[in-house]
Amino acid sequence: MAVYILKRLGLALITLWILSMIIFWVGQQLPGDPGRTILGNLATPAGVAALDHKLGVDRPIVTQYTDWVTKLAHGDMGSSYSFQAPIRPFITSALENSLKLALVAFFMCVPLAIVSGVIAALKSGEWVDRAISVFGLSLLGLPEFVSGVFLIMIFGIWLNVLPVGATPPAGADPFTQVFHLILPAIAIACVLFGYIMRMARAGTIEALNSDYTRTAVLKGLPTKTVVRRHVLRNALLPTITVVATQVGYLIGGLLVVEYLFHYNGIGSLTFKAAQAKDFPLLESTVLTIGVVYLVATLIADITYTLLNPRLRLGGDT
């Protein structure tokens, strides 16, 4: 078991290393000169060149990369060009905000999606199943900004019952904070709902058709007991994995939703950095997203393995 976890960890580290190289290389391709970004649009070319030299961005790319990674390893993310301030506080506060939003989305969506999926599976083929399935499928394909626009129009403007800005007033209590996060959380949760619901449904159906369920039914156990003891446990296992693997996806959705609802999270920070050609900030946000994703996947992998003894040796993929 320990060997397996170590192996996964090693693979994740290698992936991270490759990712950091890709990000760094792409960042170098960004148009816009760091010196120019800092000094503004009207600076003289000589001033820009002098600052570029001071920043060290005129050095060979390999030197710059090594320098960057070494500093990162010591927890130093460098300074943002556009804010001219250390990056770390921006990342931590953005990550904290995104986490809040993601948590609200998760808690609204996951239980509901699992229950819907299980109900659809138990009523497989009936109209309830079809309704839930088509609904889930529709949500699945809806871009977050489209569902976000619908939500803003319905709840924010016509009914005027929920705030359309995700950022609460400064010093707001937790309740107010959550209140402001409801609309963006629903926008994110829509797609997630579709996925998890489908996985839960498929998992349940598979478990219902499995040998051990049939055996249990043949043994004369009541349906409820069968479902609770055998079906659910086996059906939820793949669902948990899906929830974890969707973390990366969730962050992608965050970018759009945070932009739409004007929320200072890791997604909107990434977008801002890309627009401003703020290379160090962009590197840090993207790498942070990569780390969050890899950690979540790792946890999902390990949890899945722990819960499912049959898979302890690890599969091909």
């Binding site: 001033g47 804010f83 921006f90 007033p169």
Partner: protein, 556 residues
Amino acid sequence: MHRDPKKLDQLRVGRSELENHVIDEFVAGRLSRREFLRRGSIIGLSIPALGATVSACGGANSSPTSSSAPSGVPKAGAKLRIAGVVPTSAINPAQIYDEGGLTMIQQTGEYLSFNDPKTNILKPMLATGFKPNADASVWTYTLRPGVTFNDGRPMTADDVVYSFKQNTDPKVYVDAASVFNGVLTNDGVKKIDDQTVEFNLEAPNGNFSYLISSDNYNMIIVPNGTDYAKWQKTFVGTGPFKLTSYQANSGATFAPNPNWWGGNVLPAELQHIFYPTQQPQITALQGGDVDIVNLIVPAGAEGVLNNPDYTLLDTKSSQHRELSMRCDKPPWDNKLVRQAMALSLNRPEIAQALFKGYAQLGNDNPFAPFFRSTDTTVAQRVQDLTKAKQLLTQAGLPNGFTTDLYTEDYQEIKNYAQIIKQAAQAIGININLHIDTQATYYKDHWLSGIMSLVDYGHRGVPNVVLTATLAKGGAWNAAHFADSQYDALVKQYVAALDLSTQKQIAGQIETLLLDETPWICAYYFDSLSVCKKTIGGVVTTGMGQIFLSGAGPITA
């Protein structure tokens, strides 16, 4: 008018030639009262002296005051919440150039004088008075005594000299370089004594006092030796407020400065909240989360524009867009083609569509209609498609041509660019639009694009736009316009001291630019802010600054 020659003679004693000239013009009836007050303030006549002259001439003796729309006396002790925009970069007073940044520095920082937006008249701020010499090439400023910075240090001439030297430093990037270029160098700033500073200009400049007033938003006075790059940690200044906390990307809080020279500060706290766009600002105002939205554009603000629950603070401003055409590259090197393009636009309709009428028409020159020196007798250009097509035929392009327009995604510009494209289509010019982020546009296309559409903020006088965007080799000359006659006229205009001369030269410049049309300016749009009707005493400027020392709840 009942004149009192004796009193007038007393007033003239000790006045400079320039000051006497202004008084003469007023006495002769060539200047209106309002105009006299404005001109007088530019050249440093004190407000009492102006008032005395007016009364000596039989006018009512009222000193100019800023009028803020709602009546009622604001009450002290309020916590005001202001919606603003996110500053685009670090708050370095010498380098900021954006709305968010300039609003931040003027919360705690102050200028030598304040350009009152309602009257366009300079009022004393950190300087109690100033005087030009006979040809306006040397200006002497007297500083206000007893002013202390919010860190306790007293303000002296050393601090003023330091601040100006930093903002005219040729070795580093400073935003004010665009203003000071050709006007004031680093060496031109001199301390005379602790309360007096002298500015020796590179060339005579009749409007210099405007160029270093609050119109030059970077020019706040900071203590001698302040590191501008670290200013955002302290927000040190002389103003009515001092910093409680600043968080890049989210907001800033300020507390009253108990030692402010201006006396009582009404608000108990200012909370500036940054928003990325207007829509959440309006929503926050409607939802009661903020009291004031500083700077709005009419599109999307309909809910608060004509709503009795809110007060609209409407300030005429010279903010505009310049659509430049490369005068050195075909087909735009032919002025007939440029004229044709300018004739294709229906300006009243554009102003209505983009600004719901909160704008004034532009006439393809830097003289905004409300500048006193503008010659308003020069005919306004109107849409004329037939003539435009004739001009194109005359230029040898009867079938039109295809060209590229580069611009930035900023405020109404994206819509404006599409209107321009459609208008040009009507006379056979096919424009491909390239709308980039501001970062990309400014770096790659602004000064090089064959057609380039750029934003310009408010300035109290046209000098900077006249020189930087149109003079040969000007720093922002995106049109690559070079005309020796124009350059000579601008030189005369800048040096001119009295209004009638300025106006006369302005007329010539306007006529010349209408003919040459290096760039098109279809509108000057108002600077609009909005607050709850229960809040009074808010002062905003065409620049987008917001002064809140006298703001508070009122009972209507």
